[in-house]
């Protein structure tokens, strides 16, 4: 039992470390945790196999990179189905590559969908032609994103630097 808890703690620590910086090597993670590199390798492989780690992606400030994309958050109201509830319709919406994320939310609407496209026109059309007409979808509201201030825990403005002196005792 105790071993199990320890294993769980190690898994969680690895996830915390990777969430902050996914580019660290197994050796570096092992050193931070004071365990063997092979153990880290094993745990990460297991986390991938179980589908807990889904991928490693950079957080990109597109505005700074000069990449023009248009994104919109779509509030979607749906009629849940017998047996599958919201899952079937949510999965259906998820399959479009234009859709970047789909979440079931509480409140006035049911699904919060992030859609990405090259132009406003493209995004609006996608919603009008692919999402709105779905049988279970009762209503949609589109919010175009104007500016991103923070993404995935990363603040986009100037990095905050401490102002410490080089020597203090």
């Amino acid at each position: 039992m105790k071993e199990e808890i320890k294993e769980k703690q190690k898994e969680e620590e690895i996830l915390r470390i990777l969430e902050e910086n996914a580019r660290l090597s197994d050796a570096e993670i092992a050193r931070m945790m004071g365990i063997e590199e092979n153990e880290v390798k094993g745990i990460i492989a297991e986390l991938k196999r179980k589908g807990i780690i889904r991928g490693y992606k950079a957080v990109i400030n597109r505005e700074k990179a000069g990449i023009e994309i248009v994104q919109a958050l779509i509030d979607v109201k749906v009629s849940p189905e017998r047996n599958t509830g919201y899952d079937a319709i949510a999965e259906r919406i998820s399959r479009f590559p234009e859709v970047r994320s789909v979440r079931l939310v509480s409140g006035e609407y049911d699904l919060s969908v992030l859609v990405s496209g090259k132009t406003m026109h493209e995004v609006a059309y996608f919603v009008a032609e692919k999402i709105a007409p779905l049988e279970q979808v009762r209503n949609t509201v589109t919010h175009f994103l104007l500016k991103t201030y923070k993404e995935n825990g990363e603040i986009y403005g100037e990095e905050e630097k401490g102002k410490r002196l080089a020597v203090t005792l």
Binding site: R31, M32, G34, R164, A166, V167, L169
Partner: protein, 388 residues
Amino acid sequence: MSRMSDRIAEKVRRIKGSGIREFFDIAQRMEGAISLGVGEPDFVTPWSIREACIFSLEKGYTSYTSNWGLLELREALSDKIYKETGVYYEPEGELLLTTGVSEASDLALRAIINPGEEVILHEPSYVSYKPCTAFAGGTPVCVPTSIEDEFKVQAEQIEEKITERTKAIILSYPNNPTGATLGRKELEEIADVVNEHDLLVISDEVYGRLTYEGTHTCFASLNGMKERTILLNGFSKAYAMTGWRLGYAAGNKELLEAMMKIHQYVMMCAPITAQMAAIEALKCDGEVERMVSEYNRRRRVMVDELNNLGLECFEPKGAFYAFPSIHLTGLTSAEFAKRLLFEEKVVVIPGSVFGACGEGFVRCAYAVSQYELKEALKRIERFLERLK
């Protein structure tokens, strides 16, 4: 007119200025240097704490507070200390908010020392205990600790130094600069000595929250020690609030009353903005935990790598310092630090700064980003290669 230097009080004149101030000045100005010489967190104060302070300013909290500090803060602090250590201090009379732990330790010394009385302190240790004892008219009596004992002061070492003039012992664990900690058993042995010889203890536990192996034991929590201990702690290290200057002392009512007497005339009160922020800080356990786990990761990287490089380093279990031996280089710690700065632009602090027995060691703070830590260790490796 007589020379101005002759007019300076003797007890101040007797305290020698640090011989490496010049080195520090150069380090302070060196462009592109990575500093492992810093005695404070690299984190900026958590936002919710800063935000609470900003809000308090907007609401007009800009006045003095009670000399003891805001009652609301003392009450929250009393709860917090009780939860963490099991020791209860009455918010009224047993808890005093001060301008940093520095002020608290000065007050403690001045409140208890008569001219010529002795204060036992272990070295290497934080640089201010010795001069502050002297400023207070006392005589510091140093106990050297060694790497063989993992820089833990031994009860019998303390006992050997006790005379009829001994008034108090200063304990500071987790320790700056060594990162050493004392376990419950070791503390109990010291408590026995304290009891037997009827002494007081000033226990500076400002790094207590930064304990990585086992848990920190508050000296006042030991049997009979609450009455004999002036517990010092503050917000600087655990909450990354060094510049706010907020610490506190907790202990016996009469002792605290005596400290308060000095405090009310020289400081009046700790700054209200810092106190308002501290009320919020006490609710920020999650942030503290996050910082502590990050220090722990860096600690392992630093200690592991220093040992790999041949700089023998015992495992520091608290604070955010490693204290490796540089014996193999044949350099003094001041030479080592100076050359490392000029040749590789890495700042470390010579161990001799913290007492004669710190010679042969350097203090390396791991309160730096993983990136800087890696880069600094790379530079140290290059430096050592060249020395071979």
